[in-house]
Symmetry: D2
Subunit: 132 residues, 4 copies
């Protein structure tokens, strides 16, 4: 579970977190989730492996505001060539559900060609939470 303290610069003139930022928080949670399972996304990208999005979705339940402490949990699964990440974003101060969403990813190389994913990514899907 990744925790995010909402920074002021992520709010908009409605006084709430701008809706595009939820996908950034999903990204933070996704990379944190992988790291907690021994998958270092940065090492991957340095070796020419990437996991770009092919699809994204978010359902906004309650607004998040400056200084709110958000907790984002992640589940990962596979659908054919795609890796599917499902997210749930909770406001830790109130316990309220802020948002749910998903992102779909396809493993590619530096030339953006689809490739077989590394074994540690496949392993990460079957592991429980270690220290994340």
């Amino acid at each position: 579970m990744a925790e995010i303290r909402v920074p002021f610069f992520d709010t908009d003139a409605m006084g709430v977190v701008h809706h595009a930022n939820h996908f950034r928080y999903f990204e933070v949670a996704r990379i944190h989730h992988l790291r907690a399972r021994g998958v270092n996304y940065k090492d991957w990208t340095d070796k020419g492996f990437h996991l770009p999005l092919v699809e994204s979705h978010c359902r906004y339940r309650r607004p998040a505001r400056f200084e709110d402490l958000l907790e984002v949990s992640v589940k990962v699964s596979r659908q054919g060539v795609r890796f599917v990440f499902d997210y749930e974003m909770i406001n830790k101060n109130t316990g309220e559900l802020v948002a749910t969403g998903y992102t779909h990813h396809v493993p590619v190389n530096d030339e953006l060609k689809v490739i077989e994913p590394p074994q540690d990514l496949l392993d990460a899907m079957t592991k429980g939470e270690n220290h994340g």
Copy 2:
């Protein structure tokens, strides 16, 4: 149709537009689309009317890069209390489809309570492109 020249700061270390920014481009296109039909979103917000997202979705077809000229077309319709905006993002240099997506919105007041939408918003849905 809104045109967006991809700024350098919207790219990420993969060399392409980061996926959260597509929702920002959708927003630019949405506000442009409304303005072209006589709806001034800023006037609305000043009067305490807002159109926040309750749901968003994007399908990423091709990467967009620094300096690409993107064209985003918009269609608006209504589903119950929701306003549905559908987007198509084209790379004008190559003619390729970059992304498609949608956002769903619910009209609210300053206290985020659901309200009846202004008449000019309803009218905007039935108008053709004027000068946008």
Copy 3:
């Protein structure tokens, strides 16, 4: 001292943190610094007190990259009506200096008129690091 783990979305096509984001990290550090001294910036803004920038500066020493752990230290002082925050950004993995900078702020109300600052802000300048 605030710690920031560089998110992927803050990098640009050069593979490094985009230069505008340093000012966001300064903001995170500034609010963290005040919080560690008993000043809750969010409470202020809810009461109609703000501390907007009138000037900002950054000297970029070394690039920061995805997943780098940055540590930003803050010093605050007063120059007339201005509050001056000085920042030093270190890469914790390498010990290298990433950036230095400053921001100048003037206390205002909701109508952006200059006002006297709250006492807790004045006190915060003379306190040592508590738990931040």
Copy 4:
């Protein structure tokens, strides 16, 4: 002169453009300025030439808000190895000065080593406005 229509997502909970975004607008204006003088920054980066910042500064005069039309003018000069860009940001609706600032840049290659700048960049400094 580059024109920027302030997008909603660039505002913050104070209802004004967040201060980090001014450096993004400076970047848009800088690249526009070079393009108007025959310098294609994207072609440079593709050939392994970059112009990263070593220093940046902004003085905030008046807030900018959603939908404001900003005009940013640019002057470029040289100080030793540095290229110095000076900016002036005007609100076209009111004529008011919004911000002034500068950025200093050093020409580097893909490995971030300082190199001699291309001739077209040097030429660009002595040319008047063509079509920008």
